[in-house]
């Protein structure tokens, strides 16, 4: 059973459906050719998010795929979408979403999570997000500048 989690907790509403249960999102290719608004797009690991750069106004949600725990390409996809293209909509992680990556995903600008791993659900539900507050790099979720070297930040506690 999948559930949608954001930093406000588990969501009872999920207007976009569950990717693990076959929810239909547009491919990057199809999104490029679409003239409609409020699109839901899925980005696969080998996709190039540059192809979405002039479409972002009409995209409501982008789902980035973590097909395996070790496949970290979606971290870069999310970071590029936020940092390079200034995408303001929802970025959702799906696939193998496990607890210990959630803090890093948040820092790369992912803000919603389709989770099915039971232990992950249990810990998220208990408010247990095992992250580190002190960062040696900028993040996409508005950290505060640390009063220190230019590359240091503190997690946004809000």
């Amino acid at each position: 059973m999948s559930k949608i989690w954001t930093k406000n907790g588990f969501q009872s509403e999920n207007e976009w459906g569950y990717l693990s249960e076959g929810a239909e999102y547009l491919s990057v290719e199809d999104a490029k050719g679409s003239s409609e608004g409020s699109l839901a797009v899925r980005v696969e690991p080998a996709d190039d998010v540059n192809n979405l750069s002039d479409k972002l106004e009409s995209i409501a949600i982008i789902a980035v795929n973590f097909p395996a725990f070790a496949d970290g390409r979606a971290f870069s996809h999310a970071a590029l979408l936020r940092d390079r293209f200034g995408f303001k909509g929802e970025i959702r992680a799906f696939g193998q979403v496990l607890l210990d990556q959630v803090p890093l995903m948040l820092r790369c600008g992912i803000d919603s999570f389709e989770v099915s791993d039971e232990a992950t659900i249990k810990h998220l539900d208990a408010g247990h997000i095992p992250g580190i507050e002190h960062h040696y790099q900028p993040s996409m979720n508005e950290p505060a500048k640390a009063n220190s070297y230019s590359w240091r930040y503190m997690a946004n506690s809000g």
């Binding site: 496949d71 970290g72 870069s76 590029l80 607890l99 249990k122 580190i132 790099q137 070297y149 240091r152």
Partner: protein, 555 residues
């Protein structure tokens, strides 16, 4: 050296707590082994043949006596009384329990150490020249840049799940002692015509199954662009590096398959977006980090010159040790001292807890409180007064630490091999020990001169066999160990990958084969001053092959 500030202390403390929590969830069953493995590796914890193995980071090989004593304490308390210094300038313990790891990490944190990113598919411990800040030929000290890279790469949100491990090395001298051309990124400090500091940037070097020498992508990268440029390289690699085959996943394969010019263009294009971001380094920050590495205030000790000459005359063993293990220092009254962890017949890189404690004491008494770990698995005191060499030597000698063999045939690099490692196909340590015993005679070693033998127990090449003047690779054939010999490798500024000689040798025959190669060199060298690698480069493989396999095979 660098000292943690409050931020660093808080960070490492959080990281220890995070790992403690991960271990607890693993033991309770909330995390499967498949999911835990990348998490534990990212914190330096392997599972080997007999037990877990914990690899502790020694950032760019720099350590204080207090830290060394803590390592001795860990060896004694949580392990079996010894540790193993590695080719990545780190130290690893072979017998810790999973349940003790969080406590070990807490002990390490108390002396500003950790095990972060000493394994896993992330940016690993940044390495550098063991004589940084002391070597007479240095253009600039590489350690401040290595420290900035260390901080920036720690728990990086975007680059913690790369296609494969990623190694960065920095050198500050034209004579490369950090093997930068066999790293994923190699940085060489240079000055431009305006006397400004920057980097020559190399990418795509590496050993393993497909050894490759790094390619230059930048002649001069201004220091302020260090992090933006490295970020650009990492992002291009993270998105495009192969993930379908772990033997093709390093950046060297991406360089090879994409083509250098095309990949360079991709990196430059990515960098255009990054170069003016928050990661552009302000001068003030570079200066602040550099301050930690200020040259020590070394008193003039001119009396050492005459004393040294006298001591050398009186004691041949001491004189041999000086010749091999003491190098020139920026201050004329001082030298750099290599403490060999290669006793004749010993295990390369191993040290007992008592030896570690002793080295800590000696570093305080004679070594200006500084210790370095070398990628050749020795230790270094970077600042020793010539006037202190004799008393230092006496104590080292009494404790099995004064073998005068740095750079000689018995100064062998060897991976742990099948005696410990779950990936190995053959043993490395017994081969190193037998070669060391065969050539242990001091005179014989001196006659042979500079010769780097490097042994790996599998194709992953942790023992750097590809870049050994003589490399030995252990393989498993029909259930038994077999050793292949390569000749002509080198890891300095003239990096080259060794060539395979021919069919491999059984364990009983490998030392004889190495002796034959060395005897052939001694017959062929043009003068006593021509080193093994020079002779090999002059004459090529053929005469060595003939000597080892006979005329027919060599033709």
């Amino acid at each position: 050296m660098y000292r943690y500030d409050e931020f660093d202390h808080a960070f490492v403390k959080e990281r220890v707590a995070q790992f403690r929590d991960q271990v607890e969830r693993r033991v309770s069953g909330d995390i499967t082994e498949d999911a835990f493995k990348p998490l534990r590796l990212m914190n330096g914890l392997y599972l080997q043949l007999h037990a877990y193995m914990l690899r502790i980071a020694v950032p760019y090989g720099t350590m204080s006596p207090v830290q060394m004593r803590k390592l001795a304490h860990i060896a004694r308390t949580y392990d079996r009384g010894y540790g193993h210094f590695t080719t990545r300038q780190n130290i690893q313990f072979n017998w810790p329990k999973l349940s003790d790891i969080p406590d070990i990490l807490e002990e390490l944190a108390s002396v500003e150490m950790h095990a972060i990113q000493t394994s896993g598919n992330c940016i690993r411990n940044v390495t550098t020249d063991q004589f940084a800040g002391a070597a007479a030929d240095e253009i600039a000290d590489p350690r401040p840049y290595a420290e900035i890279l260390r901080q920036w790469s720690s728990v990086h949100p975007e680059f913690s799940f790369l296609p494969r491990k990623f190694k960065i090395a920095v050198t500050g001298a034209p004579h490369d002692r950090a093997a930068i051309q066999v790293h994923d990124i190699g940085l060489q400090l240079v000055k431009n015509e305006d006397d400004e500091i920057g980097f020559k940037v190399y990418i795509g070097g590496g050993q393993g199954r497909t050894p490759m020498i790094a390619k230059k992508v930048r002649d001069f990268l201004p220091e302020e662009d260090l992090l933006t440029y490295v970020t650009a390289i990492m992002r291009v690699y993270n998105l495009n590096g192969r993930r379908d085959n772990k033997y093709k996943a390093r950046i060297k394969i991406l360089v090879h398959e994409t083509g250098l010019e095309e990949l360079k263009a991709q990196i430059e294009a990515e960098w255009q977006h990054l170069k003016d971001t928050d990661l552009k380094l302000p001068d003030a920050d570079i200066d602040a980090i550099t301050k930690y590495f200020e040259k020590p205030n070394l008193a003039d000790r001119a009396e050492g010159w005459a004393q040294l000459a006298q001591w050398k005359k009186a004691d041949a063993a001491f004189s041999g040790w000086i010749q091999q293990n003491v190098g020139p220092h920026q201050h004329p009254d001082y030298g750099t001292v290599t403490i060999s962890l290669k006793p004749i017949g010993g295990v390369p890189g191993d040290a007992t807890d008592a030896q570690m404690d002793l080295i800590a004491d000696l570093a305080e008494e004679f070594g200006n409180h500084e210790i370095r770990v070398t990628h050749e698995q020795n230790l270094v005191f970077p600042h020793v007064a010539l006037a202190d060499l004799e008393p230092l030597y006496r104590v080292l000698a009494a404790n099995g630490l004064a073998t005068g063999n740095a750079g000689l045939v018995t100064d062998i690099i060897a991976c742990p091999g099948l005696d410990y490692c779950a990936l190995a196909n053959a043993r490395s340590i017994p081969v190193a020990q037998e070669i060391s015993n065969r050539f242990g005679d001091a005179e014989r070693q001196k006659t042979i001169g500079e010769l780097k033998i490097k042994i790996s127990g599998c194709i992953n090449a942790c023992g750097h066999h590809h870049v050994g003047h003589i490399g030995i690779l252990g393989v498993e054939k029909k259930g038994t160990e077999l050793y292949q010999i390569t000749l002509g490798g080198s890891a300095d500024e003239n990096t080259s990958v060794g060539q395979i000689m021919g069919p491999g040798f059984e364990p009983e025959a490998i030392t004889d084969a190495i002796e034959k190669v060395i005897d052939t060199y001694l017959e062929l060298r043009s003068s006593d001053d021509e080193t093994f690698i020079e002779t090999y480069r002059r004459l090529g493989m053929k005469p060595f092959k003939t000597a080892l396999y006979g005329e027919k095979t060599a033709a």
